[in-house]
Structures are given as C-alpha cells and as structure tokens.
Point group: C2
Chain length 332, copies 2
C-alpha cells in the first residue's frame, strides 16, 4: 500500500518501526492543519515526549551550521554527571530529529533551502531525521503545529528533537516555548541589531551561544550578554554564555554539555514536569482560541451578522450592543 | 465641576459646545479601553461621521511636517469642482482634528513627542485639535480605539479628522482602514527599504505622495510606484502619485486637491457609504473577537480549565478533546 492511502494509525505504527516516509507523511498532515492534523496529534498523546532542544537566533547567526555540528556531539550520547549530565555514565541518543521551522515569511524560502544543504553532512545517516516546516497565513498555525510535530516524532520513537527557528519575535517565543532547553545564538556585533529584542531573548534563553567566535567583537558581545544577565532577576538557573565556531566544531562539545546540565537541572528541580504541564496549558489555550475564532468566522458569514451590520450602519445599534446580541446567540 | 467628575454624556455635550478639555478627556477614556470606552463610543453613534483622511508611511518620511502643511490647506476649505472638489464652490472646513497614532512600540515615544513639536504651528489655533494616542499591549487595542476616537471627534462637531500612523504593518492597515481617504507617504529611495511592503501599500493607498522631493531619487521613486500601479488590477480609482516638499509647502495644495478628488469619487460612486458599512462590519468583528478572547481569559483562569490541563498532562485527554469539552461548556 502506498503511504497516501494508509490511515494515521497505520502510518504511526510504520513510523515507530523506522519507516521515515511514513513519519514524513504524518508531519505533512500536521503541517496542513485542520481536522486531519488533530486526528494525528491525538494518536501521539500518551507516548513519552522527546527531549526538545530549541535553537533560535537572527538570520545569519549560523544556526543550521551549529545544529549540524551539534548533531555529531548528540550522537555521542548524553554526557555522564562529571560532564554536566544527569547519570553515572553516558546515556545513548540513538536517533536525532531536527525540525527546522520557517516562520510565515515569504522571503525566507531560499534561506531554508540553503539551511538544508548545510545540514547534508547527515543526509545519508539513517539515525538523523531532518524536516523543515512552514505554515503560512494560518492564525497560530506554527504555534499549534510545532508541539504536535514534536509529539509525533516522539511517538515515532525519536528521543531527541532539535527545533530550529529564526528570530525572537512573538511567533518564535511561542515556538521556543515548545522546547525543554532553548539555545539562543548570537554573533559578535549582535548588540547593535538585536538591542530591541533583549527582553525577548532573556525570556526564552536557557543557554547563550556567541557563534562565529573567530570574528572580532566576541568580548563585547559577551560583556553585553553578561550585563543583561546581571540586570535580570536572580534565578536557580543562570544561562551560561558560551562561544562556538560552528564551521570547525570549536566549542560545540561544551554547548552539548551545557544543554545536558540544563536538562539535569530541570529533572532534579522538578521543573521539567511542571514546565511541560504549563506548556500543555498554553497549547490548550491556543487550540481553544483557534476554535473560537473559527466559530467567529462562521458567525460573520451568516445572516445574523449581516443584520447586525445593517443595524449598526443605520444607527439603530452600536457595535457593542450588536456584539452582545451576537455573543448571546453564540454563547447563551 | 471638574472634567474628572462629569459623566460621558455631559462631557460630550461640553465637547460639542467647543470645550476641548472635555473632548480630550473623552479621548483618554477611549484610549484606556474597556467598559467606560464602550460607554463613550455608544454615545457617539448616530452622529454624522467626520470625513477621515489617513496619512501613513515609514518613520522619517515627514508625515508630521506634511500633516502640519496640509492643515493650512484644509483650512481653505474643500476645493470647488474645478479643483477636484465635489461642489460648485469651496465648502468650508471650520475645524480640523489630527489624531496621531503611536503603534504599540516602546521605542517611538520620542518620535511622537518630536512630531507634536513639528505640528506646533497650529498649537494656539483653536480650530485645530491635535491629539496623540497610544494603546499598548492590548489585543486589537488601537484597531478598536481609533474608529471610536474618530467617531467621538465627529460627535463633538469636528468635520474632518486626519489620522496619522507610522508604517504599513497589519496594525497600520487596520488603522488606515478607519480612513475614507488614505495617503501613503514615501521618500526618494523608499524602494530599497519598503520593497517587502508593496502589497500592503497598494492595499491601503488612495493617494501616493513622494515627500522630500528636493532630494535625489524622485524620478526613480515615481517610476517604482507607477510600475507597481501598472501591475495591479485596473480599478475605477487609480491612486495618483504626487510629489511634495512639506518643509516649504511645495505640492501640498495639489495633495489637498487629490484628497478632494478622491472624496468626490467616493461620493459619486456610492463607495463612501458602502465602504463605511464594510468598516462597521470589520469593527463589529473586532469587538466580537475581543469579547470572545475575554471569555477565554476568564475560562483559562477557572477550575475546569485546570482540570482539563491535568487531564492532558496525565494523558487521559488530548488538547483537542479537552478544547471540545471546554467549548461546549462555554458555547453549548
């Protein structure tokens, strides 16, 4: 049977048995959204969630090259306790997935294509699964699709998912909030261009990386980040500031160790479970918002809405009264 | 009695009698939003809406200086038919209001202050009312507040309102859609920086102005705009492309005449009424969205939502089932 005719349950069973075409097809269903996506997402519930590492930063920060280099370290397994890990010995990571998220910009298509090319070191490695995802013009589309995609990857048996996103706008904050550990990648000289986003950076970062550390300005970038951290409220986890040169692998092992230390911190403190619960609450809220707005679309296409607009236009109703009337029709 | 203790109805009566402090107070109530804003907005329904001219463009395009210069022309009245107006003779405009909208950027505070200074030519003219408005962090805040503010100005007897907004993002498109005639201001060299926004520009522009026309690059800017217009679908109104040097008033009379021609076109074609009806439909939809999201906030703070999150966390529910359950509680 071709993947196109199989039901979601069959596809998930095939994906869990290692059929990557079946997994790709499930992710395409998630990407397109709507009822079929919800049906697939439902199947993935109950499976243990994969550990999720978010990698975010401005375009050109070298995120894909860094992800490419990080995959190599990830394959060596979670470090033992002396290297920042949680366990007595290396905990293997037999498979890695990368989800490269393309925010709904019509201009980044080329960049994403280039990114995939930069990651092709691992293109023929069957234990590395790379997938890019774009959802355009759909309210909350990516914010809903990314956690579902991660969940499906987990249900297919992938224990670790790296989610790579561009930028730190609200969309990216939402997407980053799907990660257990978020790595924010900046470059020397970042301060000038990202001044405006400092609050957003602090909100999402668990680990800071200054990539392209072979360029001038590393010291200033580090000082900027450290000052920003000094000014923020003290917390049990203070994001470390690391330097990497992803193109030659410099500093990438230390990055993986920092991710492992953050994971160990989350596990020990109980935050891994409580944050995942919070995220599920946010996710539920997004699903509810999407449903309510769908109802509103249906309402706005109907006769009662037209009659209300007529009333407002003729001055017999104001929009607030009209909205109250329509709401009580809708909600009671 | 001080303005602070007067009821909205009293304030509106005072504003209509020329009390500018009362009008300012009403606009502050609108700006803060919520139930008091809705109460004020309701009072303004039924009054004839003012003619609304939107002026939008990137920061630094000289919008405030242009608005300042335009006010002088506006005071000469709507041009007679031979100058593009609708009537046989000049139709007086005894009062002008300017609403300078500050999108929710924490960085534009200084610019807005500077803008107000550039408009102070008219600061002591009692027939010119200038007001800036910011609404931060409130979903759809400005999109709801601007039409209400314009309506209140109309109810207070101001026949013409110029709404000045920055940029052409979605927020600005929403705000511009509160205007009868929208003037998009660009500068020579605009093409490089605003390439990405061309579709947005075309969507909102009724008149294009190349301001700072004393600088090099006017011909290229005009060619860019004309080409863009050539490529768009033919329409009954083709936006004219004008040049101005707002600092010395050059071209500003022609701009006012173009606004008058557009107004005459809207009146003759019946579009003025049909577009205002469409805008009221959009406004009703925004009010409904705000109310629905308010209900969602209330729901998310309640026990049932917490129980649903528990269900999702423990794997006995998925967010889609949980959302269906909560929605049927909410909507039935």
């Amino acid at each position: 049977m071709s993947p196109g005719t199989r039901q979601p349950g069959e596809l998930l069973a095939a994906a869990a048995a290692g059929d990557r075409a079946a997994l790709a097809r499930l992710l395409s269903i998630i990407e397109r959204g709507g009822a079929p996506a919800a049906a697939v997402a439902k199947l993935a519930y109950g499976a243990a969630p994969p550990y999720t590492v978010g990698i975010t930063g401005a375009p050109g920060a070298g995120k894909s090259t860094l992800t490419n280099a990080l995959i190599r370290e990830v394959r060596t397994g979670w470090p033992a306790a002396e290297d920042g890990g949680a366990g007595a010995q290396h905990d293997p990571v037999d498979q890695v997935a990368v989800l490269a998220v393309d925010p709904s910009s019509p201009f980044s298509g080329g960049a994403i294509l280039g990114d995939r090319i930069r990651m092709q070191d691992h293109a023929t490695d069957p234990s590395v699964f790379i997938r890019s995802m774009a959802t355009r013009g759909h309210l909350g589309g990516l914010a809903l699709a990314v956690p579902d995609a991660v969940r499906v990857m987990g249900a297919a048996g992938l224990p670790l998912v790296i989610v790579e996103t561009v930028g730190v706008g609200q969309m990216e904050v939402d997407v980053a909030s799907a990660a257990d550990t978020t790595v924010v990648v900046v470059t020397p000289g970042w301060g000038d261009s990202m001044q405006a986003n400092k609050a957003g950076l602090l909100e999402v970062a668990n680990v800071f990386v200054i990539n392209k550390a072979d360029r001038p300005g590393v010291r200033e970038a580090r000082r900027d980040l450290e000052q920003m951290l000094e000014l923020s409220a003290p917390a049990a986890w203070r994001p470390p500031v690391l330097t990497t040169t992803a193109t030659d692998g410099e500093g990438v092992r230390a990055l993986w160790q920092a991710v492992a230390r953050h994971r160990a911190h989350l596990v020990r403190s109980g935050l891994l479970a409580s944050r995942r619960r919070e995220r599920l609450g946010e996710e539920l809220r997004r699903v509810l918002t999407a449903r309510l707005l769908q109802r509103l679309d249906d309402l706005a296409a109907g006769e009662r809405f037209g009659a209300a607009v007529d009333g407002v236009t003729s001055g017999t109703l104001d929009p607030y009264e009209a909205a109250d009337g329509l709401l009580s029709d809708l909600i009671g």
